[in-house]
């Protein structure tokens, strides 16, 4: 064959041709344009429509943004500046309103001299969540904690924090950074202590009271260990009873005694001064962190073999999910006093937090139930075959997998809760979106300022919520990578 071939072919090329670049129309920007914008009549039409929409939006908004005014004492002055700069009939954004009302948007009516306390609480939050959120990525932990420390200290310095506190917070943040490099799990102790610290920093008063609430958990745990001989259920009941007794009678007594011996008190701040993003973040973070454990318990109860427990969980979840959050908030503000013993009344922020938490817990329970249902039956059976009891099986086998599956849903619920914190405006709390904007417009200087406050608050909500959703995507890919090992 080859010989015949060799005889019939006069010439054979024995060197390779160098590869040619693709034709101009098949490469680079032109190819990209042809494929992504102009691949057919429909695509061309869509491109033209898209460009038209972009042009319409940009030409509408750009002049308004380009004429922004950052320094003015009122809307009239803003308009005068814009007219002087760009001529009659032009409009422009008046960001001076944000500049002037910045503190109101951030802190509401919180005492100005104490702004550093919420700032410190917010900064320390990152130390508390670092071991939970970035559990095994040292580099990310380092960056997040470092940036948080620098920003917190700068912000505290900017709002005139007392030097002693500045040093104390700096010490805690640096300590957290060092600890997260060496032994991240030790930081969990700080995460446990953080609620007490945050409550104390935000509301002030004596440190002993929140500390005694925290001590209740230790009391319960101690009793649980002490009654070591009994059945798990007996120990549990004993522990719960001990905790309740501690919180209701013994704890306040101890707190009083200790406060008399060593005050440890800072200036108290009442709830009605809370407002702006301080309020949203306080309600959001509390509800988010408490709804997850509650939601897990509810989800487990709903899948329980015990019909009564299951029925109670279903009733609770379906009731909460069937009613708008506004109705529940009105229950908190109007009806909760009916359900409590005559004469008791407690803080409206606390009531709202409880309601938002219950609301979030019901949604969380459904998300986690989805995760539990997605696990193959074999996992449950394998846990049973290993002889694990119910709680051990859930804790070691079932929940880690189920929670991993439901991460997108969980973070989605978090974002929903955070957005829903704006609804507290309807029960008279001072949220950043409606109440603050309304009160800005109520002043004569800023009457008629609509768009700037909305754009400002909207942008902040967008940044926070978008960051949460990106974090959930990061977590998903990281956990997926963990699967392949």
């Amino acid at each position: 064959m080859s010989e015949i071939h060799a005889e019939t072919v006069g010439y054979t090329r024995n060197t390779m041709l160098p590869p040619q670049p693709p034709p101009q129309r098949q490469s680079g920007a032109i190819l990209w344009l042809r494929e992504n914008l102009l691949s057919g009549p429909l695509n061309i039409l869509l491109t033209i429509l898209g460009i038209a929409v972009v042009w319409y939006l940009v030409s509408g908004v750009w002049p308004w943004l380009a004429n922004s005014v950052w320094r003015a004492d009122g809307l009239q002055e803003c308009r005068a500046i814009i007219t002087a700069r760009a001529g009659e009939g032009t409009t422009g954004a008046c960001w001076a309103v944000i500049r002037e009302r910045w503190w109101q948007f951030t802190f509401g009516f919180y005492p100005r001299a104490l702004y550093w306390r919420p700032v410190a609480a917010f900064g320390l939050l990152f130390v508390a969540i670092a071991p939970i959120l970035f559990a095994d990525e040292r580099r990310i932990r380092r960056v997040v904690l470092g940036v948080a420390a620098v920003l917190t200290l700068l912000a505290m310095w900017a709002v005139n924090a007392p030097d002693g506190w500045l040093v104390a917070v700096a010490a805690v943040m640096v300590g957290g950074l060092v600890l997260s490099e060496r032994r991240p799990s030790a930081l969990l102790a700080f995460s446990g202590f953080y609620p007490v610290l945050a409550y104390w920093l935000l509301w002030g008063g004596s440190l002993w009271q929140p500390l005694m609430v925290l001590a209740g958990f230790f009391v319960g745990w101690g009793i649980y260990r002490l009654v070591g001989r009994g059945a798990p259920i007996l120990r549990m009941v004993a522990a719960v009873l001990a905790v309740v007794a501690w919180w209701l009678w013994l704890g306040p007594l101890v707190a009083q005694t200790l406060a008399a011996a060593l005050p440890l008190a800072i200036a108290a701040v009442t709830s009605d001064t809370f407002g702006g993003f301080l309020l949203s973040i306080t309600i959001g973070v509390t509800a988010i962190s408490m709804s997850l454990p509650l939601g897990i318990i509810l989800a487990l109860a709903r899948r329980s073999d015990l019909p009564l427990v299951k029925m109670l969980a279903v009733t609770f979840i379906e009731f909460i999910r069937g009613v708008p959050l506004i109705a529940l908030l009105f229950v908190a503000s109007l009806l909760l006093n009916y359900f409590l013993p005559p004469g008791t009344s407690f803080d409206i922020i606390l009531r709202v937090i409880i309601m938002v938490t219950l609301f979030a817990a019901a949604y969380m329970a459904e998300v986690i139930r989805g995760g539990l249902a997605a696990l193959p039956r074999g996992q449950y059976e394998a846990a049973d075959a290993l002889g694990l009891d119910y709680w051990k099986a859930q804790r070691l086998i079932i929940l880690p997998q189920a929670l991993k599956v439901s991460i997108p849903g969980i973070v989605g619920t978090f974002i929903g809760i955070f957005k829903d914190t704006t609804l507290v405006t309807f029960v008279g709390l001072y949220d950043p979106l409606k109440s603050t904007a309304d009160s800005v417009r109520a002043s004569i200087a800023w009457k008629g300022t609509y768009w700037e406050p909305y754009i400002f608050t909207g942008a902040i909500f967008f940044i926070l919520c978008f960051a949460m959703s990106r974090y959930s995507m990061y977590l998903e890919t990281r956990l997926k990578r963990g699967d392949s090992h």
Binding site: N43, V331, Y338, L423, Y454
Partner: protein, 418 residues
């Protein structure tokens, strides 16, 4: 086997209530039951004591009293002299109105946006991504406030449309006027008025509307019968008869006949004096709320639709082409049934969310259920407990109906594994 006699049941001891799995479940449940009952009794007792201290009782008699307030937007006749019960029903119907309109519009918008987000066109896909991310990550309340502010602050007053050279002009071929107080839209009128059907309680429905609905229902039934026949025919002969002209006729012909029979005309809004007349003037509270709910929920639905389409693997389409199915049939027989299985359950829960979110009408002053029963009625009668309980019950029933529908659908489409 035979020589290992079954051990006799050990005698019952009290500790078995805790240690023995046979009894433990019961122990736990009885304890839970007792705790829950005690808590409930405590709450009810507190409530009774508090009510007694305030000199109130628990009764729904206030529903029969005169309401004494006005509701601008209403679907059934209502005056200030009507009862609180009627005000409640008006509010419920308003909630349903904005919810149903919102669900329809949000679904259409969401499907279009979800499909376009997957488009090959770079600009369109990016634009839709921006739309979805912006609307999903900013609170609904802000959208309602912004859109309502656009309507009340940025739009011209009705009298700006007057004169030879008006400052404002109508949109969509001069059929809709957007003003800062209401949106004037065209309305339908029957020249040969067939009278109205009375549903009782002062509710009248024009016979023309009834006739159109009946014609539509009949067309749907006939259409399904034709499809069944076509399918049977295909099974028998292998060729599917062409049915679409008949089906189209079934829907169009009766509608056209009825249109001319009743002499229906479209009346455009025309400026008469200071206000628009002729068409209907829809309050901006409703339009703004509807628009905000639509845009917000549409973004969520877009994501659901996108996920549903991506969930059907490419191999399914390719396999269908390999079997020789045409693209249309591939879509309707292979892709859509699988995508819908993924799309519909979360879609229905978005409808549920939209219905509950319609209670944010409080931000625009639209008189929905929360504003009538849970708002003015509550404040006027001072019956917080009764009004809130009733309102929550109504919302609960609404959402149970919607999720019941979802369960039926889920049961119908469940994969039947063999």
């Amino acid at each position: 086997m035979a020589d290992t006699a079954a051990p006799a049941d050990p005698p019952f001891r009290l500790s078995m209530l805790i240690y023995d799995r046979r009894y433990r479940g019961w122990t736990i449940q009885i304890v839970v039951f007792l705790v829950v009952m005690t808590a409930a009794a405590w709450l009810i007792n507190n409530t009774l004591e508090n009510l007694a201290a305030l000199g109130k009782d628990f009764s729904f008699r206030f529903l029969g009293q005169r309401a004494g307030y006005d509701i601008p937007q209403r679907l059934i006749p209502y005056t200030a002299d009507s009862t609180h019960l009627r005000a409640t029903v008006v509010g419920l119907l308003n909630t349903l109105l904005v919810s149903i309109l919102g669900c329809i519009a949000a679904t259409v918008l969401g499907v279009v946006a979800g499909v376009l987000r997957l488009s090959n066109n770079w600009i369109v896909a990016r634009l839709l991504t921006i739309y979805v991310e912006i609307f999903r990550n900013i609170p609904l309340l802000l959208w309602i406030l912004v859109i309502y502010a656009i309507f009340t602050e940025a739009l011209p007053p009705p009298n700006a449309f007057r004169g030879e050279d008006p400052a404002a002009s109508m949109v969509l071929f001069d059929s809709i006027a957007l003003t800062n107080r209401y949106t004037a839209i065209p309305s339908l009128h029957a020249t040969s008025d067939p009278g109205s059907l009375s549903l009782g309680w002062g509710v009248l429905i024009s016979w023309a509307a009834v006739a159109f609905v009946l014609a539509f229902v009949a067309a749907v039934i006939a259409h399904r019968a034709i499809r069944r026949w076509a399918k049977a025919r295909q099974e028998e002969t292998g060729a599917r008869p062409t049915t679409w002209p008949i089906s189209l006729g079934l829907y169009v012909v009766p509608a056209v006949v009825l249109w001319f029979w009743f002499g229906i005309t479209v009346e455009r809004p025309v400026l008469a004096g200071f206000n628009f007349a002729g068409g209907s003037n829809v309050h901006n509270a409703l339009v703004a709320l509807w628009l905000a709910l639509t845009l917000y929920t549409g973004a969520f639905i877009a994501e659901i639709v996108r996920a549903g389409i991506l969930a059907v693997s490419k191999g399914q389409t390719e396999a269908a082409y390999a079997l020789g199915l045409r693209p249309g049939r591939t879509m309707s027989l292979v892709v859509l049934p699988q995508a819908l299985r993924v799309i519909v359950p979360p879609l229905i829960s978005q409808w549920l969310n939209l219905t509950k979110n319609s209670s944010l009408a409080i931000a625009t002053g639209y008189m929905d259920l929360r504003a009538t029963l849970g708002g003015t009625t509550l404040n006027q009668t001072g019956r917080e407990l009764e009004a809130m309980v009733l309102m929550m019950l109504i919302y609960l029933v609404l959402s149970l109906i919607i999720s019941g529908g979802m369960n039926i659908y889920n049961a119908r489409i469940r994969l039947r594994e063999r």
